[in-house]
């Protein structure tokens, strides 16, 4: 098992230098949780064994995690475009070693906003049994990997840094339409169920709600079958992976 720790540490150091990314992945989700989860009165309303603040917190952490991994995925495409992959091709580093470093970096940066938002949540009134904290965090990290593929696909398709920033920006839009930033109802909720962030966030929230979403007007729980959540996650993971495979093949032919 050889893992290049020097490369991994330098990757993290690069990320820490990028203030814009740090803002979107850590500061923004923390702030949003504070505004929409911790501060309002409804935050302390119960959901099963937890409360609404917890429900909001999971979503904000999710937004931070996918922002982070989308950026990592996109950066791989940019590095390839700038010839860094070629530079590495001149060294004994194997492609699998490179992937290991990138995966480890992605997991680390996804874990950062989750830990910070969860820590803030813990101190400001988010409540749930211990196993909900643990399993939701685990599911968030796992599912964030899908969005590394989303960022990679964007980067490969448009081949520019602006495109990767746009991919990050699109997450904000998808969060509004995906029941992430605030709860939707009626036809908007129906539409949301088809967007990529919906499944990812719903899966992590199920640990709290047992499989339901909140109706913002009546504060009632609206039940949702597990297969719908899984179908959403499965479809989008498959779609992002397939798009990346097609684009990688295309870029190889171009060389």
């Amino acid at each position: 098992m050889n893992f290049n720790t020097t490369y991994y540490q330098l990757e993290l150091r690069r990320l820490l230098r990028d203030r814009v990314t740090i803002f979107f992945t850590v500061a923004l989700p923390a702030l949003m949780y504070f505004l929409f989860g911790a501060s309002p009165d409804y935050g302390s309303e119960p959901i099963r064994d937890g409360n609404v603040a917890m429900w909001v917190m999971i979503a904000m952490a999710a937004y931070g995690a996918v922002s982070a991994t989308t950026g990592i995925g996109g950066s791989i495409a940019i590095e390839q475009m700038q010839g860094w992959t070629r530079q590495l091709g001149l060294t004994p580093l194997q492609e699998s070693d490179f992937i290991k470093v990138k995966v480890a970096t992605a997991v680390t940066v996804a874990a950062a906003p989750i830990s910070i938002v969860y820590a803030i949540g813990f101190l400001t009134g988010a409540e749930a049994p211990m196993y909900v904290w643990a399993t939701s965090a685990f599911l968030l990290i796992l599912g964030a990997a899908t969005f590394a593929l989303y960022g990679l696909g964007f980067g490969l398709a448009f081949r520019s840094e602006a495109a990767v920033s746009a991919a990050g920006g699109s997450l904000v839009v998808m969060s509004f339409f995906g029941n992430v930033f605030f709860p939707l109802t009626g036809w908007q909720l129906t539409m949301a169920k088809f967007t990529p962030l919906y499944g990812y966030v719903s899966l992590a929230r199920r640990t709290l709600t047992g499989g339901a979403t909140i109706d913002p007007e009546t504060s009632e729980l609206i039940a949702e079958p597990l297969w719908q959540t899984l179908a959403n996650v499965g479809f989008w993971s498959f779609a992002f992976a397939a798009i990346c495979i097609v684009l990688v093949r295309k870029s190889r032919v171009r060389q």
Binding site: Q82, G83, G89, T91, P92, R254
Partner: protein, 308 residues
């Protein structure tokens, strides 16, 4: 002498992105490069130099033919650190410092040269803490060179290494390279700067349209290709007939005139000089060696005519 690079009947074709037709980028190359040689791969853009070097480095596979680098495949030679390259452009992470970049690439090698030593040899010690994005083109090229040294390679490949450098940076770069050659490295560089081939390479391989059109000691390639340029004066009334006589003489490639007389490109300058002085009553005879620049134009344009 040991063989470093051995290419046999190497072909590489691409599908044109425009109309899907097939482009022969490399069209049947045979080449042996021995340990300790400094070889210039010279040719205009599109001659197939970069494609050839990409195959030598294992970035792309040949359509047909074989490559061996120290009797193994290119990828094996790269993994062993026996071959390294200075890439043409890009290939650096702009947000890392010079030292971090060297540290990162060093971490991929089994027995790397120390980071300080690589920085020192490439003249980067002073710039160690500078971000790559703040480095000039010449400094970035020195950094790529430092990265190539890390694995202590026996064979260094340079693809147009001084593109974008000013005269001073270019001279300094080649001085550094001379030192490395004295340490026993084999160097192969692609260039379209003819002066670089003349100044630095013992051997020049001239490429055009995916083929090798000349290969030998650099001064011989020049001589063989271009011969000499002869100038002489003649009386005005006889100019037309003299010109006709000279054009029929063996070895003459071209005849042109200016206000001073005739300018003749030839491979047999001695024979032509005798003819001009003894039989044609020419005066003010001058003979000069053509530069590699002329050789280049001559050979590559001949090749293009053949291709048509």
């Amino acid at each position: 002498m040991n063989n470093c690079i051995r290419l046999r009947d190497l072909h590489k074709s691409f599908e044109s992105p425009d109309d899907g037709s097939e482009i022969q980028a490399v069209d049947g190359i045979n080449l042996d490069i021995h340990t300790g040689e400094i070889v210039a791969l010279l040719g205009p853009n599109g001659a197939g130099k970069t494609t050839t070097l990409d195959m030598v480095l294992g970035f792309t596979s040949p359509t047909s033919g074989s490559i061996s680098i120290f009797d193994r495949s290119p990828r094996e030679a790269v993994a062993d650190g026996r071959i390294a390259a200075v890439l043409q452009a890009g290939g650096l992470l702009r947000d890392l410092t010079v030292q971090e970049t060297v540290t990162l690439i060093a971490s991929t090698h089994n027995n790397p040269m120390s980071v300080d030593e690589a920085l020192h040899r490439s003249g980067l010690t002073e710039l160690a803490t500078r971000r790559v994005q703040a480095c000039s083109g010449g400094e970035q090229q020195r950094l790529r060179f430092a990265l190539a040294l890390l694995g202590d390679p026996d064979l260094l490949i340079l693809d147009e290494p001084t593109t974008g450098m000013d005269v001073e940076a270019r001279r300094a770069f080649w001085e550094t390279m001379q030192t490395e050659v004295q340490r026993g490295r084999t160097v192969v560089f692609a260039t379209h700067y003819l002066q670089e081939a003349e100044d630095f390479a013992q051997r020049t391989v001239l490429m055009a349209n995916g083929r090798i059109v000349a290969d030998g000691p650099t001064d011989e390639v020049r001589r063989q290709a271009s011969g000499k340029r002869v100038k002489a004066r003649f009386s005005t009334e006889r100019l037309a007939s003299v010109s006709a006589t000279i054009s029929r003489f063996d070895g003459v490639r071209s005849v042109s005139s200016d206000q001073h007389g005739l300018i003749i490109d030839t491979t047999d300058s001695d024979g032509l000089a005798r003819l001009i002085l003894q039989d044609l009553e020419g005066t003010d005879l001058e003979i000069e060696s053509a530069s590699l620049e002329n050789a280049f134009v001559q050979l590559t344009s001949n090749e293009m005519e053949l291709a048509r």
